[in-house]
């Protein structure tokens, strides 16, 4: 008996494939990256379409092929979720202080350069 993966799982797998790709990739590339799952091309296209509607993926056309890329990196999205969660806290100062406390020293120096 084969376990049918849910759409959510497929979306995760496709996003992971896009995040680990260096450049924009075709649906075929995604299909190859997920070869172990034996997905039909139409399935990959459906999932990519859903992700595009959610604003997580952009599509560009080069010649006859459509190429897909993630609109933002994994870390950017995690940061967005964390911002959402921390925005709800009463004491933004304290939340930010905790956030800064979690940054490694070398990155902290880089952040300081950016701010200055």
């Amino acid at each position: 008996m084969t376990v049918v993966p849910t759409l959510g799982e497929l979306e995760r797998a496709v996003m992971d494939a896009l995040w680990s790709a260096d450049a924009a990739v075709t649906a075929r590339d995604v299909q190859d990256a997920l070869a172990g799952r034996e997905l039909a091309t139409t399935t990959v296209l459906t999932v990519l379409g859903r992700l595009e509607r959610k604003g997580l993926v952009t599509r560009e056309r080069t010649g006859r092929a459509h190429r897909y890329r993630a609109t933002a990196g994994r870390a950017d999205h995690v940061a967005e979720l964390m911002r959402d969660a921390l925005d709800a806290t009463p004491d933004r100062g304290a939340a930010l202080a905790r956030f800064l406390g979690s940054i490694p020293d070398d990155e902290r120096a880089a952040l300081r350069d950016l701010l200055d």
């Binding site: 959510g8 979306e11 995760r12 996003m15 959610k54 997580l56 994994r74 999205h77 995690v78 940061a79 967005e80 979720l81 964390m82 959402d84 969660a85 921390l86 925005d87 709800a88 806290t89 009463p90 004491d91 304290a94 939340a95 905790r98 956030f99 979690s102």
Partner: protein
Amino acid sequence: MELPALALLVFGVALAEPVSRLLARARWPGRDPVGALLLWQAIGLAGGLALLGAGLIYGLAPLGAPPAALDAALAELGAGRLPALRVPHVVALVLTAALALRLLGVLVAVTVRTLRGRARHRELLDLLATPWPAAPGARVLEHPVPVAYCLPGLRSRLVVSAGVLDCLDVDQVWAVLAHERTHLRERHDLVVLPFVAWGATAPFVRGMVCAQFAVATLIEMRADDVAVRQASPQQLSGALAAMGGVAPAAALSSFTAALHRRLARIVEPPAPLPLALRALVRLVAAVLVAVPLLAVLG
């Protein structure tokens, strides 16, 4: 007819301003958070109904008392005639309609904005967070800052950051999850929603802002009370202290700055209100809502 309208107006204004402020400052709600939450809902509902009722009663006064006056006015309009009202009455009715539309409009806008934000947040969560095997239903977000929160709704989510798992032991995580699960199970997001909306309607009324803050604090107390029963006071307070007290919900917008007071309440809980006083609180809540309803519906 001016006297009942005036009395209702005073009643509504009193609820929105001095009563809200007094209740927000009172200490007994910590001894009966559920009763206090019921009272806040009653104050919000009764205040709104009273202001609308006052405008309606005054505006329709020349036609008699509502609800008969309302029927009479509608019958006149239906027959293509303008009801025999003078300028002040028309002004009162227009203001009443404007207030009703504004309250409703803000409530709808806040609800839509909240639902959209939640849906977006949930989409991203489902892509990024991984299930935490130690607690069914909980997901872990790879981020070093310790945050635990819940995303309420029909398809609710329970989230802890990797930072939480780093700085708490498993029992403490359980206590925090019990707290967040209470928010979800008792739909505290819906308890807070009207106050967020009323706060947005009239941010210049201090009583409204006090109410919003007090209700947010009360749902945290309630969730603490339940979590302490499922885990232990030491586990919960230890967890909150370790996390620096930033354990509230994202979409739930809870905000309690008074971490120390909260921790003290968890470790040394005040005696619950006696049964008779609890009953009284609920009775007062019911009476508050009944007053404007009876005044308008007769």
